[in-house]
């Protein structure tokens, strides 16, 4: 199992939220929508150029701004398609960071 933030996760990857790195305001805002430690999230997609990340939580889709998405850490599940792949996908953060 791997710990990534929402920006680093790949599209269609799912996992369990382990931490929201932020103040009470941010944590409360996210918790009201079910993004809190223990919740299962699926990343639908992320927009380039430091754009928002789309996630699905409890059957609802949300767009989360890039800066906020960086602060949500997720223990990523290994999906079936990843099973045979070498451990650890290339770090997409460097990739996205470079494109800003």
């Amino acid at each position: 199992m791997e710990r990534l933030n929402l920006v680093e996760m790949r599209d269609e990857q799912a996992g369990t939220v382990v931490a929201v790195d932020g103040g009470r305001g941010l944590q409360g805002k996210l918790a009201a929508l079910g993004v809190l430690p223990g919740a299962r999230v699926t990343k639908t997609s992320g927009l380039r150029l430091r754009g928002p990340v789309l996630v699905e939580v409890g059957g609802t889709q949300f767009a989360i701004g890039f800066g906020m998405a960086c602060r949500v850490f997720v223990d990523v599940e290994e999906s079936e398609s990843d099973a045979g792949a070498p451990p650890g996908p290339p770090d997409p953060r460097g990739d996205r960071g470079a494109r800003r």
Binding site: K29, A39, L49, G58, G59, T60, F62, M68
Partner: protein, 575 residues
Amino acid sequence: MKRILLVGNPNVGKSVVFSRLTGVRTIASNYPGTTVEFTRGFMRLGEEQAEVVDVPGCYSLDPSSRAEEVAVRMLEEGADVVVAVLDATHLERSLYLTLQLLERKLPVVVALNIWDETKHKGIEIDVGRLEEFLRVPVVPTVAITGAGIRDLVAAFSRTASPEVRPHTPAERWEDIGKIIAEVQWLHHRHHTLLERLQDASVRPLTGLPIAALVAVAVFAAVRYSGEGLINYVFNPLFEHAWRPLLERLSAWLGGAGFFHQLLIGKLFAGEIDFAQSFGLFSTGLYIPVAAVLPYILVFYLCLSLLEDSGYLPRLAVLLDVVFHRLGLHGFAVIPMILGLGCNVPGLMATRVLESRRERLIACTVLSLGVPCVALQAMIFGLLGPYGLRYVLAVYGTLAVVWLLSGLVLNRVLKGFAPELFLEIPPYRVPSARVLPGKLWLRMKGFLREAVPLVLAMVLVVNLLYAAGLFKALAELTAPVVSGLWGLPEEAVAPLILGFLRKDVAAGMLAPLKLSAEQRVIACTLLAVTFPCIAAFVVMLRELGWRDLLKAVGIMLTAAVLVGGAQNLVFILIAS
């Protein structure tokens, strides 16, 4: 009087429930001490009248946004019935707020709205079991058709406030997990076409072309349908029905004189010219009713379709990157799009933005670079005959002004750009039941606000001309207007009067002998300089004097620069 509060997440159909309960007798008002709006109305409850309040949509009762603060305060003021409106297709998310309401020991009834969609979505909910868990009445409703509303009202007498201790967020979600496991089953089914479109419209590769397509489609629809309505409906109406009456009045007034000038205006070769005569009954009625109304009708039809379909939040996601550079987040696209209709609702919609900084930026770029549909209608009218490229020159300049001013403000103002955090609703086919009502409300709003103002302005213009005031002003401003912008002296009056109403001001340009280039400059300046008086008042309310003065300073500076730059470009092209 009994007090009924409708509380729920944004976008669960609260307002539709509200209008079902109250009928049409609704009044919108400002809540004292805050700028977040709520709606209030009345309904009959047995023998007595009850007040119904549509509380702003919120996700929780932890005051982390303006809407939540308002909701909490209204709940603290007390209520006889709190209707928790839930989205049955998103039960899990909706329950969080419901649990918080129960923890506050409020008299709750649950409306499981959008019930009809659960079947298409393969969601099965055991209402009885849910009632057992929550210990309050639960009523499935379909507010759009009115199904279940009667049962909901009947349940008002069975409200309950069971004993529930305060929970932490984690505990609440744990409870929700347990409830969901017991009361809801999901059946597998294939993705519908709408759902596939849903994904395509937020991915950049497919989303941007879709957005461009939507923009072009709306623009073309407004432009050509508006023109069609004018040519085939409104112009004939004015020519064949109204002109004979006016001609009689004109003859009766003797064809000239002060009152003739006021009511009918100038005659061109002995004929009334609806676009140019400038009397109260000629141009004063023609501009709002025949020149602008058709475009408004089509624009608001398109806007309502976009709003109801659920496309706008997706546009917000796609454009977040752009808006972030302006110190805003993607959701600010909604005030901008509303502003394309009329700046007033656009400016009011900036309330959804969190910080004062954001609201200043949004209001400023909106009044600088977003022309209202009334002005746009006149731009089509003034420049259309010269060719599309002149129309596009105005739009292109405004887009550049919008972008540059936002970039600069984001640099100069202290603070940071906030993050987007937005629920993406599923696409819905706009309801044919809701659409006409919404359209009618907006048309009525325009007619009620615009027509008296336009008439008043035509009157004022005539009086000021008679008093010779414009001559003095024209001489005073000649260095900028003629020297820098390359416009004739007569253009001063319309530019200044643009403060009252943009469409009439643009109408005043028509009789002037301006070249196409000069018309482009004048139209752009009308959009950039000053918001019209209605928008100005709203800006004052939303921003306060200090920020308003900043915004006005920026607008005047921008106007001087933009008019000068356009003039320079045209001179360079010509040489």
